[in-house]
Point group: C2
Chain length 395, copies 2
Amino acid sequence: MPIIRVPGFKFAGVTCGIKKSKKKDLALIFSERPATAAALFTTNRVKAAPVLVGMKRMQRGIIQAVVANSGNANACTGAGGMRDAEAMCREAGVRLGINPGLVLPSSTGVIGVPLPMAKVKSGIEKAAAVLSAGSFSQAAEAILTTDRFAKTASASFRVNDKKVVLAAMVKGAGMIAPNMATMLAYILTDAAVEAGTLRAVLKLAAEETFHCVTVDGDMSTNDTVLFLANGAAGNAPIRRGSRAERRLAEAAREVMKELAIKLVEDGEGATKVVEIFVVGARSVAEAKKVAFTVANSKLVKTAFFGSDPNFGRIMAAIGYAGVPIRPERIDVGFDGVTVVKNGVGMPSRERAAARVLRRLSFRLKIHLHQGKASAAVWTSDLSYEYVRINSAYRT
Amino acid sequence: MPIIRVPGFKFAGVTCGIKKSKKKDLALIFSERPATAAALFTTNRVKAAPVLVGMKRMQRGIIQAVVANSGNANACTGAGGMRDAEAMCREAGVRLGINPGLVLPSSTGVIGVPLPMAKVKSGIEKAAAVLSAGSFSQAAEAILTTDRFAKTASASFRVNDKKVVLAAMVKGAGMIAPNMATMLAYILTDAAVEAGTLRAVLKLAAEETFHCVTVDGDMSTNDTVLFLANGAAGNAPIRRGSRAERRLAEAAREVMKELAIKLVEDGEGATKVVEIFVVGARSVAEAKKVAFTVANSKLVKTAFFGSDPNFGRIMAAIGYAGVPIRPERIDVGFDGVTVVKNGVGMPSRERAAARVLRRLSFRLKIHLHQGKASAAVWTSDLSYEYVRINSAYRT
């Protein structure tokens, strides 16, 4: 894999001992100049301290560095947790020679345990000492928890003859659910982008990517998606409605979609990636509601794991989605193999459908025949490994 | 266990070959006289044929027999399925010598496969031939699918010096979710009860029992709760607002609560029964919403399985329940061991809490400190066995 570089950004990922495994657990992302920032945070009412601090930082909309640790979420830690999140920013500010108000903190891992601040501080010092433009993947590694692999993607495009880069790293694996920032994600570009444009591009791209994946339906306390544009490319700031904005939006969507699907691939215990594609709905909202209800059904997800084209469970989930569907109109198919036609099951097609379900990735298409709206959602299966990871996570 | 008898009712449970396992798969419940009936059906928009037929039967509110098969749900089977459900009633009517319009059909099992009607009919004939007052438990066995044990309960009480009996059988195991009839359940009494009173008693008792349990959050297409009062006791019909009504309601609640908890105990793969008790809510609706969100969280349920008092996942689930909670007020405890106080985790109590979680049954108490309403919900853990059962159910 080629090394990802984003002009004007430096990275570090180091081990400071928060994780017992001695894997990397502290990341720094540093922009040589203050960057325009847009962010999305978890909509969970229980928000971790770094999220609360990050939301405060975003009032100004200018960020120059991210300090992130894995192994400890600094959530449900009360006033002490808030002090620790601020202290992380202060330490990073000192080591990077910038105002702590320009540092956004993130934490991910176990909830309810105070951050081991001596380790965190030594980690920040260590990371600041090894910052480099070529260490993107080290930083991406240092934000992982139960993830099996680091998830990064990049794209480049032209703005008025200047080549600019857009790259991102995400962390996911568990507590992946929609309607929130979903995970830790840092999206970086050297393009100059006006603040309002950056916010609009992030919001729309997230709606079509990160907000369309689900692993377990659980929504985390710590999720943060941050988009930084540092302007190192020297272009005139990208504005709303411009052709450059469309290119930026395309690049963001492309990179974020690639990462969203990687999130599902790396979902805890996932052995398969399934696209739930609902068509013929009266509205996108109804299509999404049906798709997510099917995607989050424990019975459907275990059937996926067992390569069982159990259309009965799919029909049952469609039926309780809270959308006024008409059962007798519904068609259901797996990669072109129809298993329900006009609401009636076709047991004779099950053998052919089971062959589709043995693939590592396939599409479940649900046609409601009620309208013209559609939506796609990506999900994983529910395996023994999911239970193993989550019953033994801390023990 | 003593044999359950309800005066005026006869039962049968036989094998007719719908299940490959040769376990019992056809049940008859017969009342010597037409009984006053109240019923609750699944609120799933995808309803099985027997549910649609049953709803039609309930327009008159008089039922004399139930014919139920297990191993095949007769759902997603189109017009043919409707004909089969009616044919079951016809066959039962002929064999029992009653009007088919007094027969309520039920089916449970695999969805989308046509009923093997020759087997069903021979089963009805066989069952009608062996009907007896002492075969309550045989009928209870014949409605099971992935259940590990038959679930029955009974109580007796006095109405004006007459002793009356109330007994019930349920079938559950998977697709157990609230806000619906939840499962197959037949509740029988020899008391005479006015129709409106029977409906009111059933609705209220279900609200506090069957509607408070969840195994997987999936809602079935076939669920039916039927309450029959045949008046064989010879009492004056029980009326609204009477003391007898209170006794009937108490007996119904007691029997249905016992069965609701047995449903969770027998939840697919369940190794533990957990009561989620939410107090200090602003309304019962909000308390229930929080309780069910925690009860259905895959991450919380796997932590229960692993005896991990993972209060972070519990706090996260409380936070995304859609209720305007105040994190900093919340206390969380397991059987008296507090693990979260004022929203802050207490890692030092985890060892003591883990000992509680190793019990077969315990209470998770969540205090929201926002009001005076409370609600209790029962749920199971999410185990390897759940995944095994549901990934291999049909294969």
